[in-house]
Symmetry: C2
Subunit: 192 residues, 2 copies
DNA sequence: AATAAAACGGAGAGTGCCTCCGTATCTAAA
DNA sequence: TTTAGATACGGAGGCACTCTCCGTTTTATT
């Protein structure tokens, strides 16, 4: 009597694969075409039927929210990975570049979430903490190694990145954001 | 040779009427159903054909933007009118209630404008000034009459109103906003 | 290998978007 | 007034998107 009925069956991995593919394609589509990108097209490009997409994400908002969560989780996970495998400055830079992608996702999300019950705050609260924790770790490490100034406020970097994203309009804004990352890094180095 | 060709012809007033009706219905529809409300439906409810709607507002964004501008203009005009015909406190209260409607419009607009070239800032800049000017006048007048405290910062009132709107989620948020207006007014009176 | 649960896919009905153009209405001139 | 022609109207219709439904396929278990 170890296992009663087959209550817990291993989840099918084709389902999981599809879910991930959809998420991937959706993120691209949303930041490319905006929050109204065609869901049928997303399904097609992900190589699944419309039914599959809707089974995984019953509504457009559900898909958008999932994309958003995924991005935040990737950001948090990446901080760990980068810190373990890269020199302080490299890790910081890599993470900031990833953050640019995150902004792209977030810009799509924020508006769409207005229609969700409970408002956007619930979703943001948790993720904000994760993100702040990540950048703080990265900056502290880089300060300790002497690569950047001691008086740098980690959040200033975030604010600068987000600030740019709010002015963003042209379809090539990711490039300008990338340039900004390098400028920020350069400006964060110790004087002399 | 006073007037060359009939270059300037009076605009037809049926066109103007229709334009206004559409704007009116659109505002209601957008704040009710969100920024994706059906344009065909809006046209129908305004008693015009789809073609008419699209002639006046070629794109959805154009319509949304027009709604927004209209709201801001109404706000500015109302400040004048209220100040001339109402006692200081009454004018302030009436204007703040109108501001609640404005928020409803703005909430719709902000997201949708992300897709406009140049970003939302261009649209906000001008209107922000108009609104700040309005509340400032109203508060100053009420201070002069002794109805509210001398140290009240007009913008605090705006911030409070906007703050509420960001937490707003339930479909009955206008009511709660109205309650807040009264609380704010009460709290702004002089001590004793 | 057999079985049934789990997941898939895509056709299709419903709805929305937006254009096109024949018709109606209005302004200004005669 | 009447009239001309400029201006605006409306809604049918083609195309795109949404989302459901259910017969078929794939997968984990026995």
């Amino acid at each position: 009597m170890t296992k009663r009925s087959p209550a817990v069956r291993k989840p099918r991995l084709d389902a999981q694969r599809n879910r991930e593919r959809i998420l991937e394609v959706a993120k691209e589509a949303f930041s490319q075409l905006g929050a109204n990108a065609s869901l049928d097209d997303i399904a097609k490009e992900a190589g699944v039927g419309a039914g599959t997409l809707y089974r995984h994400f019953p509504t457009r908002d559900a898909l958008i929210e999932a994309v958003y969560r995924t991005e935040v989780e990737k950001l948090a996970a990446a901080e760990q990975r980068f810190s373990e495998t890269m020199p302080p400055i490299g890790a910081l830079r890599a993470w900031m570049l990833l953050f640019v992608d995150y902004i792209a996702a977030k810009q799509i999300i924020a508006p769409a979430l207005n229609s969700l019950v409970g408002g956007p705050s619930k979703l943001y609260e948790g993720s904000r903490g994760q993100i702040q924790g990540a950048i703080e770790s990265l900056v502290k490490r880089a300060i300790k190694s002497g690569d950047i100034r001691k008086d740098l406020d980690p959040f200033d970097l975030l604010r600068a990145l987000i600030g740019v994203s709010n002015v963003a309009s042209a379809p090539d804004w990711p490039q300008s954001a990338r340039r900004l990352v390098d400028i920020l890094i350069a400006g964060s180095r110790p004087v002399k």
